[in-house]
């Protein structure tokens, strides 16, 4: 994606990324008994990882990971193959669709369901990059639940003392399963924790992709220039339950309505129309093209050869 987030190519790329993420989530939510959608969080994933270039590492959070896979150049065939356990799955079905990624494209796969190890081993990717004199930056995303984990704090501290080229992004959807993060965090922002480790840090509007992109670029530029790690707490909202069977009765109607009005895709469409004079027709054409592409690829992959013991 073009680095200048305000260029028209960058805008379309961001829009398409958010749509791919949303539409894959919708399909999975509809077809799978169990699914962990990132509805409402697309501006964080697509904004935070959107400026990475070849040679950089992406360490996505599991929720919304598919948008990051797409940004890093995985094809829809590979992403959907991972979801449907078809032979286009990069791991040949050994990992779930949202854990897979492709390490050849410098996406760290999640080989354990435990959250935290990827944040800490992702820190190691950056440590090796620094030692070897490379210019790669590592972007590491994690949820507000993971933010309270001891190992994350160990890693943020080490990232600072070793001056590692990392952008930490808290994909702060305010819930870990049913637990409200405000109940379990000693600060009202994860950025305050990071400040305690002497990292430049800020809380931003995670539903505004332009704000996320700008904050991410600042951190990535600092990391690439040798200025060490940055943490961005991107405040967003999980529009729905932890997984498809969770009706999220613990969320209030009031907060749901409030955040639905801040849907990052709708907001970005408004931005495109109002600030960039892009027509509704053009926007709908892109939306329809992405929708068609996702569904056609889905059906094609569904009909393709499944992973089996014989083709491992």
């Amino acid at each position: 994606m073009p680095k200048d987030e305000t260029s028209i190519d960058a805008l379309w790329h961001m829009y398409e990324g958010m749509l791919v993420s949303r539409m894959l989530d919708e399909k999975c939510f509809q077809d799978f008994a169990e699914w962990y959608p990132a509805f409402g969080e697309e501006a964080v994933t697509i904004g935070a990882f959107g400026s990475l270039v070849d040679g950089d590492f992406a360490v996505p959070h599991y929720r919304g990971s598919m948008g990051v896979f797409w940004l890093r150049g995985m094809s829809l065939e590979e992403i959907i193959g991972g979801l449907l356990f078809r032979t286009s799955s990069v791991s040949l079905g050994r990992l779930s669709g949202l854990h897979g990624g492709d390490f050849e494209k410098q996406i760290l796969p999640s080989v354990t369901n435990v959250l935290g190890p990827n944040v800490s081993s992702g820190t190691g990717l950056a440590m090796a990059e620094r030692i070897r004199g490379g210019s790669g930056v590592t972007v590491i995303a994690f949820g507000d639940g993971t933010a309270a984990l001891g190992t994350l704090h160990e890693s943020v501290n080490m990232a600072k003392i070793y001056k590692l080229p990392i952008l930490f992004v808290c994909q702060n959807n305010q819930y870990s399963i049913s637990s409200r993060s405000s109940k379990f965090h000693s600060w009202d922002s994860v950025a305050s924790w990071a400040a305690g480790y002497n990292l430049p840090s800020s809380q931003i509007d995670g539903n505004d992709i332009m704000a996320v992109r700008a904050a991410a670029n600042e951190g990535i530029d600092r990391a690439r220039a040798g200025g060490g790690p940055t943490l961005v707490d991107a405040l967003t909202f999980r529009m729905g339950g932890h997984l498809s069977t969770d009706k999220a009765q613990y969320q209030s109607d009031e907060e749901r309505v409030k955040w639905e009005s801040k849907d990052p895709i709708k907001r970005f469409e408004e931005y495109l129309q109002n600030s960039r004079q892009i027509s509704v027709t053009e926007i709908s054409q892109v939306r329809e093209r992405v929708q068609r592409n996702v569904l056609e690829t889905w059906n094609k992959v569904l009909a393709s050869e499944a992973v089996s013991l014989a083709n491992q």
Partner: protein, 323 residues
């Protein structure tokens, strides 16, 4: 071929030193491994030679540090992670057992993690950190667990561990750490992983061991030899995955099996060896396992000494098999 008389500790350091000189991608991570010289002097001289850029000191944050090393190994380096003592292995169980072990297979071979986690385990003269955790690590596919029983083995096995493309946990037995010296070849040499050594051949009974119990078996075999019992010693060297072929072939020859280790008997490495052998070999006597009783390891010497298999235990067990 020139050689030098070294302790097990010195042999490990020599292996690391020569390999760091040969391979610039090897770096070491750990607590107190710099000017201090490492826990139990385990890194003496390395910091002076390689400095802060390759002998990297870390905070007391075992989980974070092990994960850091794993990540570094995924991005072109071959880190040696120094985990002070084996007592700390449960702290990093998640990083070892659910992250490092899974990478190669789960990523379909795309994410390989060539690191060595070195630690020190088991009782010893120092008497502070007595735990033996190898059975915990052995239950999970994907991890290689090595424990040397002599200085010569220590050097060659550490070389193979550093050259492996997948994770190796290398446990240095504290009991032997500053123990008997041995003539260790000066040049670098590798002893392959997954291959047992047979330091003594014999036809009457197979004694399987690793780490400290290699020495126990050697002393017991010498005593039993005087009584006319001809022992064969199989030193596993690599505890997991162990060398099935050497163990089974020896048991086929002797038809008698004793396994001894310092770790607990319950669900231990000995249980796996006995199950494997009895599945393949008709033994002439019931196999015997000698291991720690199913109790935490106590501090008072009189209690602690009772938790380790002794030379007398082995002699008594073998003698019993022939009556």
């Amino acid at each position: 071929m020139s050689s030098q008389r070294l302790t097990l500790r010195e042999a490990v350091i020599e292996a690391i030193d020569l390999e760091m000189e040969r391979d610039p991608n090897i770096v070491m991570l750990g607590q107190d491994i710099g000017e201090f010289g490492g826990p139990l002097q385990s890194t003496m001289g390395l910091w002076e030679r390689y400095g802060d850029s390759r002998i990297i000191e870390t905070p007391v944050a075992e989980q974070g540090v092990v994960a850091l090393g794993i990540g570094m190994s995924l991005n072109g380096l071959r880190p040696i992670i120094d985990l002070m003592f084996a007592d700390f292995l449960p702290l990093v169980a998640n990083e070892l057992l659910q992250l490092a072990t899974n990478l190669n297979y789960m990523s379909n071979g795309k994410a390989r993690a060539p690191f060595v986690l070195r630690t020190r385990g088991g009782d010893g003269p120092y008497r502070a950190h007595p735990q033996n955790m190898e059975a915990l690590l052995s239950n999970i596919p994907g991890l290689c667990v090595v424990t040397p029983g002599s200085p010569v083995a220590a050097k060659g096995l550490m070389v193979s561990a550093m050259r492996s493309d997948d994770p190796v946990v290398y446990i240095e037995p504290i009991f032997l750490y500053q123990g008997p010296k041995e003539a260790v070849p000066t040049e670098q040499y590798a002893i392959p992983l997954g291959v047992a050594a047979v330091p003594r051949t014999g036809g009457d009974v197979t004694l399987v061991c690793y780490g400290r119990t290699v020495r126990v078996m050697q002393l017991a075999a010498a005593k039993l030899g005087k009584e006319g019992i001809d022992c064969e010693i199989v030193d596993l060297q690599t505890v997991t995955p162990f060398d099935r072929e050497t163990v089974i072939n020896s048991a086929k020859k002797t038809r008698r099996l004793v396994v001894a280790h310092d770790a607990w008997m319950n669900c231990g490495v000995g249980a796996e060896i006995v199950a494997t052998v009895t599945g393949e070999v008709d033994l002439a006597a019931r196999p015997i396992r000698l291991a720690a009783p199913n109790l935490p390891i106590a501090y008072a010497p009189v209690l602690r000494d009772n938790s380790r298999p002794t030379v007398d235990n082995v002699v008594e067990a073998v003698t019993r098999m022939f009556h």
